[in-house]
């Protein structure tokens, strides 16, 4: 079953968009012995090649998490901020963020009301990083921070911040472990990308550099299985989600069908995903150069972009199994 310790280490690591270096170092420590070749490109992407000859396949999972940037200092010990990526403002109040040096900040909202009656604007929020009296710590304008929350397990459910997309990174690493030592029919590029949350930027640069024949992104997707929400067919425990379409990307039907064939042949539980909001690194890969047909294996996830993103370990394992089944056989599209 999927490696919970690996997942915990990844989700608890610090890496808001543009500042992925700690996550990259952590991932590097896990894949150094697995890859034939390792390099970091100009956008900070960690590119790991396994195998040579055959079709070039780029597998992308993004290292960055949503975060925020200090935009101005307020009273001593308080600061104002802007977002990097799609933070859910309502879920920030009373939540905690962590800076690169480990400083913990708390997010508050202006005003005297104990309970806000309106949706706050970002201008009405602030970070409290005070240490004592009127002093603050070493936070400066331009410092980045990410949400912080410990990893938790409840039965088969794994709950943490930045499952988006550290769980994708975990799936990639576990696939690399499973494929190590095997005779690979394809040339695989496992790319741990940067700045996905602020415009799928890392993946685009990586794809331009690698010029693969096909792309596969690994990322979370939403579910339709919570109260008064049945907008989607995807549910926790329903297996690996094979993406059909999202708002940035239409998976070529031939790739979708290949994934279904591989899943059925390997006995991997799967479900089909149509997502009406959101996109992944695959959208950047597919539109790079002269077009690179790309698919996505999605990990179903509740409460995306909160500090309690929830996945099911069986779905995670199914994603690993599906990815391995795809990559250890010829990519026949």
């Amino acid at each position: 079953m999927a490696d919970k310790a690996l997942i915990q280490a990844l989700v608890e690591a610090w890496g808001p968009s543009g500042h992925e270096y700690m996550v990259r170092a952590l991932i590097e420590s896990h894949v150094r012995e697995l890859a034939d070749e390792l390099r970091v490109d100009n956008a900070g992407n960690l590119i790991c090649r396994m195998g040579s000859g055959g079709k070039k396949i780029m597998i992308a999972a993004h290292m960055d998490e949503i975060g925020l940037v200090i935009s101005a200092l307020d009273k001593p010990g308080f600061a104002r901020f802007t977002m990097t990526g799609g933070l859910i403002l309502l879920s920030l109040i009373g939540n905690r963020v962590r800076f690169a040096d480990g400083t913990i900040g708390t997010i508050g909202v202006e005003g005297t009301a104990l309970i806000p009656t309106e949706m706050p604007t970002i201008q009405q929020l602030f970070i409290d990083f005070s240490t004592n009296g009127e002093n603050g710590g070493t936070v400066r304008v331009g410092d980045h921070a990410a949400l912080t929350r410990e990893f938790a397990v409840r039965g088969d459910r794994l709950i943490a911040k930045s499952m988006d997309d550290r769980i994708g990174c975990a799936v990639a690493i576990e696939a690399m472990r499973a494929l190590k030592g095997k005779n690979l029919p394809n040339e695989l590029y496992f790319v741990f990308t940067t700045q996905e949350e602020v415009g799928i930027r890392g993946a685009r640069v990586a794809a331009n550099g690698i010029a693969p024949d096909y792309g596969i992104a690994l990322d979370v997707t939403a579910t339709g299985d919570t109260p008064k929400n049945n907008r989607m067919a995807v549910r926790l425990g329903g297996g690996a989600a094979i993406k059909v379409v999202d708002s940035g990307h239409i998976v070529p039907p031939a790739i979708k069908e290949l994934m279904i064939r591989r899943a059925e042949a390997a006995g991997v539980r799967y479900q089909l995903e149509v997502l009406s909001g959101g996109s992944t690194d695959a959208a950047a890969i597919q539109t790079a150069l002269s077009g690179i047909p790309s698919g996505v294996i999605s990990i179903p996830c509740r409460y995306v972009h909160t500090t309690s993103e929830t996945v099911d370990i069986n779905d995670v394992q199914a994603c690993i199994d599906l990815l391995v089944a795809l990559l250890e056989q010829p990519f026949e599209v």
Partner: protein, 360 residues
């Protein structure tokens, strides 16, 4: 060439963004006898080559019209009914009560776009159109049958034939942009009777409606010397502000930042030579067409945009005038026939000779 029959075939086939196979096959059948070689790109676009008579290395002109239409996709099942997501900008207001096809593994199922009965609506809901989340697809089957035959991800298209109107006008779905594909066909047909030295690369691009993806990929790969994109433009009707272009009154040529000014002038000259009315379409910024993606590919490609006036865009009664299609095809063919070795040197942005000399 029977433009109406060709357009009827194109309008009635089913090929939404990302799933253009049926369109590609029909267009291939039409373009094969008119061109020297054809291929399908990695993203699924169709490229047909008509080689010029000049000596190698020959210059290349790319003509680009998109073959994808807007459509829907099954996002989940609700008992006997289907809920949908969009493939391209489908207008939920214009599809209510109209027939659809749901394309399953085992063939197409007929159905209808359904909405709640008036008794099921609140008073405010009764005053407005439904959103895409509020409509459903009704196949007239039981929930068990639907679960057995339909899957999440099955595509859904509108299912209506081409309608003949008066005065050589027709109404149907997917005139955006298959009417312009027909212009390219008409151009290739006219080129059978004209000599041309440049290579013509006719591209039926994919996924324009979801982000110009086909055109971007093909411009990068084919790297033509110049490109002319074709897309529908707005004809006059209530609630559509000017500029608009009346059906049958000429094929507008776009002017603006998205288009190379000297290429614009060259096409305009061809129209004048043919004594063809050429309305100008002012496009100050983005054109919202394949031209936007093509223009900035690699070292930059001089690009132009030709329009086919259309009423009721993005509905199943998009209305065009067959004469506009014929004229567009002829204008393109004559322009191509006049292209020579010198052309690229003539369409520089600011030729030194054209700089105003200071007095004195």
């Amino acid at each position: 060439m029977d433009i109406k029959a060709h357009l009827k075939t194109l309008s009635e086939l089913h090929a939404p963004s990302g799933y253009e196979t049926a369109a590609r096959e029909a267009i291939l059948a039409a373009w094969q006898p008119l061109t020297d070689a054809q291929e399908t790109s990695r993203m699924g676009s169709l490229i047909a080559y008509k080689y010029g008579s000049g000596a190698q290395p020959r210059r290349k002109i790319m003509l680009c019209a998109h073959m994808d239409e807007i459509g829907m996709i099954v996002s989940h099942m609700e008992g006997a009914f289907l809920r949908v997501g969009e493939l391209g900008g489908i207008d939920s207001r214009a599809i209510v009560g109209k027939p659809v096809l749901v394309h399953t593994r085992d063939g197409a199922l007929q159905g209808v776009v359904g909405v709640r009965a008036p008794s099921m609506l609140s008073s405010s809901e009764r005053r407005r159109y439904p959103s895409l989340e509020e409509i459903h697809i009704d196949l007239g089957l039981s929930a068990e049958e639907v679960a057995r035959r339909v899957r999440v991800g099955d595509i859904i298209t509108m299912d209506l034939p081409l309608l003949d109107l008066q005065d050589r006008r027709v109404a149907g779905k997917a005139m955006d942009d298959r009417a312009c594909v027909a212009v390219v066909t008409a151009c290739l047909d006219a080129l059978q009777r004209l000599k041309h030295t440049w290579d013509v690369l006719a591209v039926a691009s994919v996924q324009e409606e979801v982000g110009l993806h086909g055109a971007r990929a093909e411009a990068y790969r084919l790297n033509p010397d110049i490109a002319i994109a074709l897309d529908v433009t707005f004809a006059p009707q209530p609630n559509v502000p000017s500029p608009t272009f009346e059906l049958g009154s000429g094929v507008p040529l776009a002017l603006g930042a998205n288009f190379h000014p000297a290429l614009f002038e060259a096409i305009k000259k061809t129209a004048e030579r043919l004594e063809m009315t050429l309305p100008i379409e002012p496009v100050p910024m983005a054109s919202g067409t394949d031209a936007w993606a093509i223009q900035i590919s690699r070292d930059g490609i001089p690009t132009a945009l030709l329009g086919i006036p259309t009423r009721n865009m993005h509905t199943t009664v998009e209305t065009v005038d067959l004469r506009d299609i014929e004229r567009g095809g002829r204008l393109l063919a004559e322009f191509i026939a006049a292209l020579d070795d010198q052309f690229l040197t003539e369409i520089v942005w600011d030729a030194p000779e054209r700089t105003e000399k200071k007095d004195g």
